[in-house]
Amino acid sequence: MTEDCSSSEETSTPTTSISQDTFTTETTTVTTSAFNIPPETPSSSSSFNTHLAIQSLSSILTTVSPSLLSQDQDPAFYLLHNPDISSQVSSLLRLPDSGAGDNNLCRWFYDTFQSSEPQLQLVVLRFLPIIAGLYLSRVALKKPLAGFEAVLLAIYAHETTSRAGQAMTVNVPDLSHPSIYHESKKPAKDIDAADLNLAVISPSLEPHVTVRSTKRARIVGVALELYYSKMSLMPVGSKIDFCEFCKVWSGQDGDEYKDGELQDDQENVEFRVDQGNLGKESVIKEGRIALPWELLQPVLRILGHCLLGPNKDKELICSASAACGSLYSRSLHDINTQAILATRSLLRLSKMALDPKNNVDHTEIPVTDVISL
């Protein structure tokens, strides 16, 4: 019987990995620092790996000049940020049968990620939005996807190992206890784990050898969690790709909520009535997918970074707020309350961030006509 052999093979593996339990969410931070090897000092083996990766990539792409190898800057950095390479890889990825198991590019992604070279893994993650985006949207179309799955599984496995399978939890603080940032009358000593609200933001990870369809969202979600943790190193283009796919996934164009979700701007509403009905409903969106929380949560965290992160790029903020509007619209369609709360807050915040009233520079000195010593 099929389920017997598959499960017996599995019964042993997850239990062993899970039994090494301790509260180690810190493991992620450890690997983060390991990831950020400064590009100036690549070890000899890493530069060898990088050159190998570039060579094999240039055999896939049509016009990668071998002169790349003689670049002054770190070649992996160049791979990550070069717009020509990105656009070529993107268009190859977007070909209709690109996700097949024998696809060269997928193979390159897989091998490159497996090289365990942090800088090269970043290059793979740079294209994760497109891979995940196409993958999830193509599932219902019954296209070959083994290549995409291999890449996603490799990322998932990497994350499983680096977290030691542990769940990521958050202790929601309780202000009646003192903290490093505030004082409280209550005696400090009776802080008890039981008093705090323990929230699981990412459940524990089990190893997966194949993508089981009910685990698909989780595997992609975990890959996106890794992407989120590296977002500050990602080029803007990658983030914009991600925002575009959020719109596709949501299946809603979300234009209704471009200027925030509030209904107070009545004149706007009327204006839209005239405009809005030009066959918007008639467009059937391809690529709409189910958005369970395990997928939506990392998506929203990434969008939060795009909208409110320290790097303010106009184009990025624009496409992120469009994505946010689409997801808000979608969560209304699903009447998914948790998602409504989160996306609505993001929408409101992105609107507030544009308001000049909220952008007063408090570090500026007062300008006076009388200057005194």
Partner: protein, 701 residues
């Protein structure tokens, strides 16, 4: 930011003829100095200031720098500041203070000198600060951050024990506050995220004597940075960790802590209301699924901050997100009252959705959904399909408790019509396929139901367990057991071990239906092994915090086994299983019912009867129990027949598709001599038997 010097100066010349500088009690117009500056003669400008106001070199330079900065000539300002050796000036300040600081007793004597030193300290620090600002405006962020850091380092050197509250010159304090706020901002803009993290912590954890506004701005900026920078901050330094106080472990915790502190500061009246703080907190808490904590925060906010309807609606969203639907619905009833905002579309949709899950609220939900359809206009028109869909679901649910057959079939066809209408508006929403499949299945229109179930599994790529289960149940209702088993096996392939519980249970039931008891027992045994493994690997604490419904449910396994043994009349084994099940779930109507079946099987009819009655007391709408009571009563004597008949009719009202109820009702009619009625009942029973699933369709939800 960077302005060209010449264009600017000409513009400023005609605007500000009245600018003046004050020092040592003397006032001086700046026009002459400005003219010299515009010619590029810093030296001359400086000397005219020194002469005019009797200043020393540093003071004159600082004044000039500030003048240039205010005129917007940041490059020139930078040039002027470069002329001051700030490092020396700082070093000169240090000893005078560090000597003074500890000897507080002799303050009166040294006061005047103290004031002078503070004054020059303030001058120097302001000069460095303005240099940092100038550099920032020129886009030289790293240099700016470096200068700004020098201000703070100097302050820390000068004031060893933090800035004293009373004896500090206002201007110095202002400079310090601004520098504290500026440094993390600069580092952030320069892309030095780790340094920015520690600068924020330094700002908030050291003694800078910040005021409430200042501190809150930093706290908010830090919280936003923690949430959205994508850089892990790491734990705060050990020095900052006061014994026993709560130390956040990672970014999200720290951000939530800061935001909560900000909300509290607001309601203590220390700062003005900033709506973005609450939005940030909402985002953070809904990300971790802690909307009940958010609800508590919202409830604590003073009235008057936002409209009560907004508060009710947001609270309803929070409560509904953690499954407290009754609380949510009560709030929505308030906000949808005709004197409040009866047309709020989102509130209407949420209320209708909560109602459609409960048959006793479905009628109320119909009202909300109809209002939602009427209000789905303008830019919300895209939600019309959703409203229609929810109306359909409410009608379908309402049908399940409708008192008359006529009403029931009217509601059912209404529900189907609405869902069909909804699907034409929401072509790409697979949920509708599932709901249509369920509705048709419950009406035993199995072929159509099967079509929708298949479409649903295809559209979701088999990612949802409920799709597979519906498909298997429909096939089992069509008595296509082996195909149902194929579906279950396929589903098992697509599921990870811990989520296989419901599927395996179905599989065991399928085996039972196919009269393969040994296979069924084997499946149950595997399920029990799974329960064991699960307990070992997750531990008691884990299972609470990550409780999912898809976990293997040990109670259900034992109960299923008991059921299986009862079919085999293995009463001894059954008793063991039932005992286990009873331990896991006390006061369970189901356990009492199965116990009754066992007692009846062993011939203890009276005890069985009392078991059934007890079960019915626990759950008055327990259909299977009613049927067995009816059956027992019908065998007793003719006096009990009317009671039996009424109890069976009751059962049929709750579950009109229950074949056993029809069967026993037929028997009663036959005993009573109403042969035609009896024939009708038997016919219904036999028809239903051909379309009976191995488990109720509603068990999927």
């Amino acid at each position: 930011m960077v302005r060209s010097q010449s264009a600017d100066s000409s513009e400023y010349e005609d605007q500000t003829p009245s600018r003046e500088v004050w020092a040592n009690g003397i006032c001086m117009k700046t026009s002459e100095v400005e003219a010299k500056l515009d010619e590029g003669n810093i030296q001359e400008a400086e000397s005219s200031l020194r002469e005019g106001l009797s200043l020393n070199f540093e003071e004159a330079r600082a004044l000039l720098g500030r003048l240039e900065y205010q005129r917007g000539n940041v490059e020139a300002a930078l040039h002027v500041f470069d002329g001051i050796d700030l490092q020396v000036a700082i070093q000169r300040l240090q000893p005078s203070f560090s000597e003074k600081q500890p000897s507080r007793k002799g303050r009166s004597r040294g006061d005047s000198q103290h004031a002078v030193s503070q004054h020059s300290a303030s001058l120097v620090l302001e000069a460095i600060y303005l240099k940092a600002k100038s550099l920032q405006k020129l886009g030289r962020l790293n240099d700016a951050a470096h200068e700004c850091k020098r201000v703070l380092d100097a302050v820390e050197k000068i004031f060893h024990q933090g800035i004293p509250d009373v004896q500090v010159d206002n201007r110095l304090q202002d400079t310090v506050r601004q520098a504290v706020e500026l440094l993390p901002e600069l580092l952030k803009q320069a892309g030095c995220y780790q340094e920015a993290m520690s600068a924020y912590r330094r700002a908030l954890l050291s003694q800078w004597n910040l005021d409430d506004d200042n501190c809150s701005r930093i706290q908010k900026a830090f919280a936003v940075f923690l949430m959205h920078s994508g850089v892990e901050a790491g734990p705060p330094s050990l020095a900052a960790q006061v014994d026993g106080s709560y130390v956040p472990k990672h970014n999200l915790e720290e951000a939530i802590l800061l935001l909560m502190i900000l909300v509290r500061k607001f309601y203590l009246g220390k700062i003005v209301w900033d709506p973005s703080v609450l939005e940030h907190l909402t985002f953070a808490l809904s990300l971790c699924g802690q909307t009940s904590v958010l609800a508590k925060e919202l409830e604590e906010i003073m009235p008057g901050v936002f409209h009560r309807v907004d508060r009710w609606n947001t609270l309803a969203l929070c409560y509904s997100a953690v499954g407290q639907n009754t609380a949510a619905l009560n709030l929505l009833r308030k906000s949808l009252h005709k004197h409040e905002q009866p047309d709020d579309l989102i509130a209407l949709l949420l209320a209708a959705k909560i109602c459609c899950e409960d048959s006793h609220l479905a009628a109320e939900g119909v009202g909300y959904a109809q209002r939602a359809i009427a209000n789905a206009q303008g830019r919300n028109e895209h939600l019309k399909g959703v409203a229609i869909r929810i109306l359909g679901l409410c009608s379908g649910k309402q049908a399940t408790i409708s008192p008359s057959d006529f009403e029931r079939s009217r509601l059912q066809s209404e529900a189907l019509k609405l869902l069909d209408a909804a699907i034409s508006l929401e072509k790409n929403n697979p949920d509708l396929l599932f709901e249509l499949g369920m509705l048709y299945a419950e009406q035993r229109n199995l072929n159509t139901a099967l079509r929708y179930a298949k479409q649903f599994v295809d559209a979701t790529g088999g990612s949802l367990l409920k799709g597979w289960r519906l498909l298997a149940l429909i096939l089992s209702a069509q008595q296509r057991f082996s195909e149902a088993e194929v579906v279950i096996d396929a589903a098992l392939d697509e599921t990870a071990k811990w989520e296989q519980g419901p599927l395996l249970r179905l599989k065991a039931k399928l085996k039972t239906s196919q009269s393969l008891p040994m296979d069924a027992i084997e499946t149950y045994r595997y399920l029990l092994a799974l329960v064991q493994a699960q307990r070992k690997s997750f531990g008691p604490l884990r299972s609470v915090s990550q409780a999912g419904d898809d976990r293997v449910n040990e109670y259900e396994v034992w109960h299923g086994l008991a059921d299986l043994y009862s079919r085999l009349s293995h009463w001894k084994d059954m008793e063991v299983c039932l005992g286990k099940a009873g331990e896991l779930k006390q006061y369970s109507a189901e356990v009492l019912y199965t116990e009754g079946v066992m007692l009846q099987g062993r011939g203890k009819v009276e005890e069985a009867m009392s078991s059934y009655i007890n079960a019915l007391l626990l759950d008055p709408s327990f259909v299977r129990c009613k049927i067995l009571i009816g059956a027992l009563l019908s065998k007793r004597d003719t006096n009990a027949l009317p009671v039996a008949r009424s109890i069976l009719s009751d059962a049929l009202k709750i579950e009109p598709t229950n074949r056993m109820a029809w069967y026993y009702l037929g028997i009663i009619h036959r005993v009573d001599g109403r042969i035609a009625d009896a024939a009708d009942c038997f016919q219904a029973a036999s028809m239903l038997e051909e379309s009976d699933p191995i488990e109720n369709f509603s068990s999927i939800l």
